[in-house]
Symmetry: C2
Subunit: 407 residues, 2 copies
């Protein structure tokens, strides 16, 4: 698969995170010539927080992480690519238990200190023998760089994705690094969004969780490629505490705001990278809804627009078809009044107060739609609710990836 | 546009409906060489019922019909094709008022006895001069057949759609004829689903409305092409009372059950015709969900599957990707337990109790998916709720229709 036309020019320069050691190996989950098992070891004292899919049919890895997260401690992370282990019944659960037990035995920790995520084909139990052999190999493998880790967690992604941010906490600089995979809420055979954030900040796990929840609400929860929700979506944040800052325990502590801002920044960067690798994407689309009765209502309207096949195909065709935006507002089921509705493409108002702006200048609209970054604004004219979401267009590439290539 | 590969072989033979007169003309709403204005006159005493879009941004035609329906009387129907008149502010409302006033003046009835529906491009006010000239012409035009009417209400449809049914009411045979247009919940430029049913039965309008609501819940509300909801969707049923049956006033009257069954039958036939003309469709897909906690829950799960781009592209690729069905069940937000979930393609069970059926015979599944009619069954294993919905696959044809051809 060609690299997405929306991909960044190069992989970013990323700092090391004290207390984090990364290694990769080839477990051979699929018949391919590439690494597919990522192992991350954390020093003692590492805090963890996470968000997982809302699917009612989650993978056993998701269930494992959900059970372990309240304890707030992490010593290791294992990420398997090529097999999501979802919908595999008791055999899937056995695979997760075997992986976590083996790692815990080798590094001397509780199994609940070991986090696992898997991505790839579903319905096929993760082969336990390959996982165990892979873990044995990766435990003695040389340390790997971030780019190797970001590449090893990929499935149908067309480029390795990572981002960085930093914050000053009481005179100490703390660093954050994140890697993510996903090229659709779901890609073929249920490849999924898996994101991992690593920081050397000292922060209490409960606060890290609250901050991650908040950042997630403005980043990973605001992107969509096809409206489909994976059985395996997982974002985990690990904080080693090695930066030497006074530990942040509450949101009122010095540096808490700065860290929250840095975490929000890196989450948004990572979320945007997923959209930029959306299956078949040729445009990166920002949709801002203002004037809604609440922020939540604004987000639901924005997602209705972002998930509309007719809006997404219109953008692919570089067609300023604002009628389809009206349609998507109308179907969202949220408070809206046709005769208060205004719509803009880029900076050009095309509809206002329930009808087309007569004689609006089509030239800047056409020029805006020809670019790779498209910005749609909707004002419902009802209240102060506001939200922005991000998506990509719907092209022949999406159909080719998901229909033409058979599993 | 080529005729859909899922279209019936020919237009059906349809009976005349006593008390109904049809005519068509060319108002010239678009620059095309075809009729685009359909006029139907009803004898005095005709009852009417209707269902309209749930969009929060409906067209003025929809608002007009909603206001007139509670009166229960109809003398005329005007259908404009090529311009939906939606999102056109006060000028759109003025067009509807001009049309209904002109018809009412000509045939001697109240404007509220005149029903209007329009379909086509949005954001452009319906030209009142063309509408008025068209009405003047159609009022003196020769009577037209059902096929002409079904063709005249089309926009991007690839074939004219109609169906018939009949029922015995107290020894009298009553006839029903329906015509419908739509090739997607929405087609390019907001062409929409408009359906009209005509019967010579004598039936009270309130009961007709209740029966239409019930039939709609199992037909038009159970189909989806792309999950997009039009600003103009309208289905109207007109009953002239000329069959000579004893009027049906309540559901307990003789013949009420038979008429309800005939109405449900014709609604389902018409709904299926819309799916069979779904944009780019190559497969007609039935999705049945059983074992849900309620019928409503079953319907929401079934629509989640039917609207999933990943399920629809898998079927287009003739790929028995039941993992995508699991995903769509999981994202529906309805009660579901992964380990009670069973899935079949055609008659072959492929997953049961939360995992793949080991060694299921792939040959009949592959053969089933190669056909034009695909049947997917899901058993949630929780209760007695049940629903069936119908959709089509998602193909390059959909993208071509909606992205490649610019408005």
């Amino acid at each position: 698969m060609d690299r997405s036309p929306l991909a960044p020019a190069s992989f970013p320069a990323l700092p090391a995170i004290a207390g984090v050691r990364v290694a990769v190996t080839r477990a051979g989950y699929k018949n391919w010539e590439r690494n597919d098992l990522t192992f991350v070891a954390f020093d003692e004292g590492t805090a963890v927080a996470g968000v997982t899919t809302k699917s009612k049919c989650p993978s056993p890895e998701v269930e494992w992480c959900r059970a372990a997260l309240p304890l707030g401690r992490a010593r290791a992370l294992v990420v398997n690519a090529g097999n999501s282990n979802a919908f595999t019944g008791s055999r899937g659960r056995a695979a997760v238990e075997a992986i976590t037990a083996r790692v815990a035995g080798a590094i001397g920790c509780q199994p609940s200190d070991v986090f696992v995520a898997s991505t790839g084909v579903i319905g096929v139990p993760l082969p336990i023998d390959k996982a165990e052999a892979g873990i044995d190999a990766v435990l003695t493998a040389p340390e790997a760089g971030w780019e190797a880790a970001a590449a090893t967690i990929m499935t149908t992604d067309t480029f390795a994705k990572a981002a960085t941010a930093s914050a000053m906490i009481g005179g100490r600089k703390v660093e954050l690094v994140g890697i993510i995979k996903g090229s659709g809420m779901i890609a073929p055979d249920m490849a999924t969004m898996l994101g991992f954030i690593f920081t050397d900040a000292a922060i209490a796990p409960g606060l890290l969780q609250a901050m991650l929840d908040q950042a997630n609400g403005k980043s990973f929860s605001c992107i969509t490629v096809d409206g489909d929700t994976s059985t395996s979506d997982t974002v985990l944040a690990f904080a080693t505490g090695k930066a030497g800052n006074d530990p942040i325990e509450t949101i009122d502590d010095a540096g808490a705001d700065a860290f929250q801002a840095a975490l929000a920044d890196i989450c948004l960067q990572l979320a945007h990278l997923v959209v930029r690798d959306g299956e078949g994407a040729s445009k990166f689309i920002s949709i801002t809804v203002e004037g809604a009765e609440s922020d939540g209502s604004a987000q639901r309207v924005a997602l209705s627009i972002a998930n509309s096949p007719l809006v997404k195909t219109a953008i692919a065709g570089e067609d300023a078809n604002w009628g389809r935006v009206v349609m998507a507002v109308g179907k969202a089921g949220e408070p809206a009044e046709r005769d208060k509705l205004s719509i803009r493409f880029g900076a050009t108002q095309v509809a206002r107060g329930g009808l087309a702006v007569e004689g609006y200048d089509e030239a800047p609209v056409a020029a805006h739609l020809k670019g790779k970054d498209v910005d749609i604004g909707v004002d419902l004219g009802l209240g102060n609710g506001r939200a922005t979401v991000w998506t990509c267009d719907l092209t022949h590439g999406y159909i080719s990836i998901n229909a033409d290539y058979r599993s």
